[in-house]
């Protein structure tokens, strides 16, 4: 099996580091170049994970989709809560855009890892 779980976990690690960077500078503006680099790295890792996942032939897709959508619901709520906290604290402009995109990757990476880990051991039939 391709390392989809590791790639999506790597994306998660990138956005966590980026989030720590932004939070540690708050309420000042963090160095956006570093945060943007981490965001791009996370997006690239998710893109690679998605590509490798789509190429798997024998795979329990029904199990993957079933687990993914429920996990996505949970992590969309969590990401929404974090977004709300940042917006409430008057994060604006480019910083807010970067935070939002990081949270999108966060909300996608965790369900991908969970669903892939479950589905890889499920019956492809």
């Amino acid at each position: 099996m391709p390392p989809v779980g590791w790639l999506s976990s790597g994306a998660l690690a990138c956005v966590v580091v980026g989030g720590i960077l932004l939070a540690s500078y708050a309420p000042r503006v963090a160095p956006l170049a570093t945060a943007t680099t981490l965001l791009v790295a996370a997006a690239a890792l998710m893109l690679i994970a998605g590509t490798l996942l789509a190429r798997i032939r024998e795979f329990a897709w029904s199990t993957f989709v079933r687990v993914f959508k429920w996990a996505l619901l949970a992590y969309v709520v969590t990401a929404g809560m974090i977004e709300f906290a940042f917006a409430h604290d008057h994060t604006r402009g480019t910083s807010l855009v970067i935070v939002t995109l990081m949270l999108v990757i966060f909300a996608l990476s965790v369900p991908t890892t969970i669903a892939f880990t479950v589905a890889r051991y499920a019956d492809p039939g």
Binding site: S8, L12, V17, P27, M81, D89, V110, F116, T117, Y121
Partner: protein, 201 residues
């Protein structure tokens, strides 16, 4: 009576059919929803008591449960027979699926607000460096919990729901808990030290 085979699969017992494990305890979801609303209201209205309650209670439960499971439940579980271990895990792990993400959400969502209101976020605060260290500690725990532990937890529950669970696969997934327990244990102790230090300065 069927005998245990030496291959990877667990031979099915000839006794009663095993009840299906509910991966996410549905009855707990209304409690989770209520806590989500409580956290959102605390943040939205800058409700000092609500923020402190969610952060302290959520963080206390997160740390306490992690350390208790790692230091007490884990060693006991390792000494139980396979059937006893499986029965305990079938009841215990679904509850962890719903409890842990909830207490983590309570802790982290309000923690930033508590830091802001207490002045610790300001670069000039003497607690600022400690706060950044706590961010890093929590970051490590979050990546381990979300990237390793939770996927393994749910995968084990799905495996246990199969007609013939693969015992070797369950053991391999459970060993992720053991491997990461040491790391998260150290992180939790570090969190206790940092938080009590922040609260006392």
């Amino acid at each position: 009576m069927s005998e245990m085979t030496h291959n990877d699969t667990v031979a099915p017992q000839s006794a009663l059919p095993r009840p299906t494990i509910q991966v996410v305890p549905v009855r707990g979801l209304p409690v989770v929803a209520a806590l989500v609303v409580f956290v959102a209201l605390s943040i939205g209205f800058n409700w000092q008591w609500g923020l402190m309650f969610n952060h302290v209670v959520g963080g206390g439960l997160w740390t306490g449960i992690d350390l208790f499971v790692g230091l007490v439940i884990g060693p006991i579980l390792g000494r139980l027979s396979i059937p006893a271990r499986a029965e305990f895990s079938a009841r215990f792990m679904p509850k962890m699926v719903i409890i842990m993400p909830t207490v983590v959400m309570m802790t982290l969502a309000t923690g930033f607000q508590v830091a802001r209101f207490s002045g610790n976020l300001a670069a000039s605060s003497p607690n600022h460096a400690w706060l950044i260290v706590s961010f890093c500690v929590v970051g490590v725990m979050a990546v381990i919990a979300l990237g390793v532990l939770e996927p393994a937890n749910i995968a084990v529950l799905f495996e246990m729901n199969k007609p013939v669970p693969n015992g070797e696969r369950i053991g391999r997934l459970m060993r992720r808990f053991i491997f990461t327990a040491g790391v998260t244990g150290v992180m939790q102790v570090a969190t206790l030290i940092i938080m009590t230090r922040l609260a006392s300065r």
